[in-house]
Symmetry: C2
Subunit: 349 residues, 2 copies
Amino acid sequence: MRVGGRDTHAAWWSDDGVHYLDQRTIPATVTVGVARTVEDVAQAIEDMAVRGAPLIGVVAAYGLALAARRGDDLEVAFQRLLRTRPTAINLLRGLEAVRAVAPDPARMLEAARAHDRAEVAAAEAIGEHGLALLRCGSRVMTHCNAGWLAVQDWGTALAPIYRAARAGLAPFVYVSETRPRLQGARLTAWELGQEGIDHALIADGAAAHLLQRGQVDLVITGADRIARNGDAANKVGTYAKALAAKAHGIPFYIAAPLTTVDRATPTGADIPIEERSPDELLSAEGLDEAGEVRRVRLAPAGTPALNPAFDVTPHALITALITEVGVVPATGEGIAEAFQRAAGSPEAI
Amino acid sequence: MRVGGRDTHAAWWSDDGVHYLDQRTIPATVTVGVARTVEDVAQAIEDMAVRGAPLIGVVAAYGLALAARRGDDLEVAFQRLLRTRPTAINLLRGLEAVRAVAPDPARMLEAARAHDRAEVAAAEAIGEHGLALLRCGSRVMTHCNAGWLAVQDWGTALAPIYRAARAGLAPFVYVSETRPRLQGARLTAWELGQEGIDHALIADGAAAHLLQRGQVDLVITGADRIARNGDAANKVGTYAKALAAKAHGIPFYIAAPLTTVDRATPTGADIPIEERSPDELLSAEGLDEAGEVRRVRLAPAGTPALNPAFDVTPHALITALITEVGVVPATGEGIAEAFQRAAGSPEAI
């Protein structure tokens, strides 16, 4: 994707470390962070300077390659990176891909690069398969950011939309702002603006109203972990949209690469849900009148808050999964079939 | 209710005009606004310096009495006040109560005071009837602010909670923050904090997750207009909670006085839904590190936004209505019965 006319990745390897667009400062400014140690990488993930399930898998993979080059204890590095965030299974996938060829640093770096390329290829294929679900002028609702900031180059939920826009289908996107971190308002609105795709920001609470009023043709979100039975954990607020879509007969899709599917997790109830700091909810950050970034407190001082970062959408509410091997039912059978297809394809992950 | 140890109303008449707590500055500061003309009153309602369906009815009633005392054209004043906000029917109720005794200024003021007293009495009765729905330690979820800032002295949705707290039942309240205006984070959290009632703030998108996980015993919200068939318009984000409550078998109640019921509106689809400025969504206001109130922009400059202020919950999702004449089914029959009971009672509105 292009930022200010230049082709840009969300994260990339360079000889001085792992580079990434700092997603905490977008849209105010686009700055590049550099993680030179495993601890730097871990903190960038924990602080959500890099975020998005596939992207944190890629960045963690590069982080483990970095550990190898620096001569760090690889198991310590692996565990440090793995415990940064509990919900997205892609984190484990990226780390495992690199550990599988340990301890040679060059081979580990190549494995990280291969994992990165595979995620890009998967996202591109998700875009192709998802494109078939869109019509001219389709009105798509999404939640959080599952665009190219979350997954190199294409994204997951937004990949079909980028494809559709380039195919001249003129999609329209309802962007749910996604409190408390506002990934919709800050990141998805910014991505779509950069690509010139028509969109409207909405409050998370307004999604059900728009679905009820027939203003949405389909919902597509990403996922952080999909259980073996098709239940999907994604950014908190997703489940409410799935319930409303079901109530009004509107298709609800989860777009995700197979690296997001965790066949070791039987159901959604078994997915660990990250609890983040109440501070995220008690305040918001943005630009003041003078263009300075400021954090303002919204609620009374000392207000207790609960901040679960994800929720689980039961598979019965998911019309289908959009994966790199095609659109498959969100069921145990559908997932098994997807992995069979992937095993039979030369680019299988 | 008490603020800083002093008994305080949300709005009151005084010889120099209509006084009100300015709800735009709470919790940062508690300031009293004074509306000395009909235009002042209208702007206080439009800007949401005063808000909450019953309260705007009361304030509009005083506004029309003010018009009479000033010798304004009463029909012009009536229409100006009526068009401040389209969804809450209480606005019309308050205005009609005062217009019914026009043009004598003293009688009109007395009618406004009577309307105010009747709303307080209704809210108190709602608290009594709603109390029967709570148990020791009940975990209640609410949305927006339907407390004493929205309805003199008691509130609607919060009235049973205030009663329960005084009865020693130790209720716990999940406060949905209610983007974009954050009435939950700013006002409900503040009210509950002042009363020492245990609560936790949550993102609007987290409500369905908590309902799914069995952390909530019942949901109670207010309403801005209830149609003849029991469909209820309330602050946007309410409908998603009702859907999730239904999905998990958790009771969902609407607490509202009969002034909120509009028997001239057949169904929820006939209730006008106010669209407010996109600016409310693109920014948030709070206190910076220095304790100064600041507005910060959250989304990229120029981001288009849609900002419906209300949504409609179909009556099939509403377990019951908590009214001043008792807990009644959210159906045409239930509503007809409630009005019959009210007609048979000496304090009928």
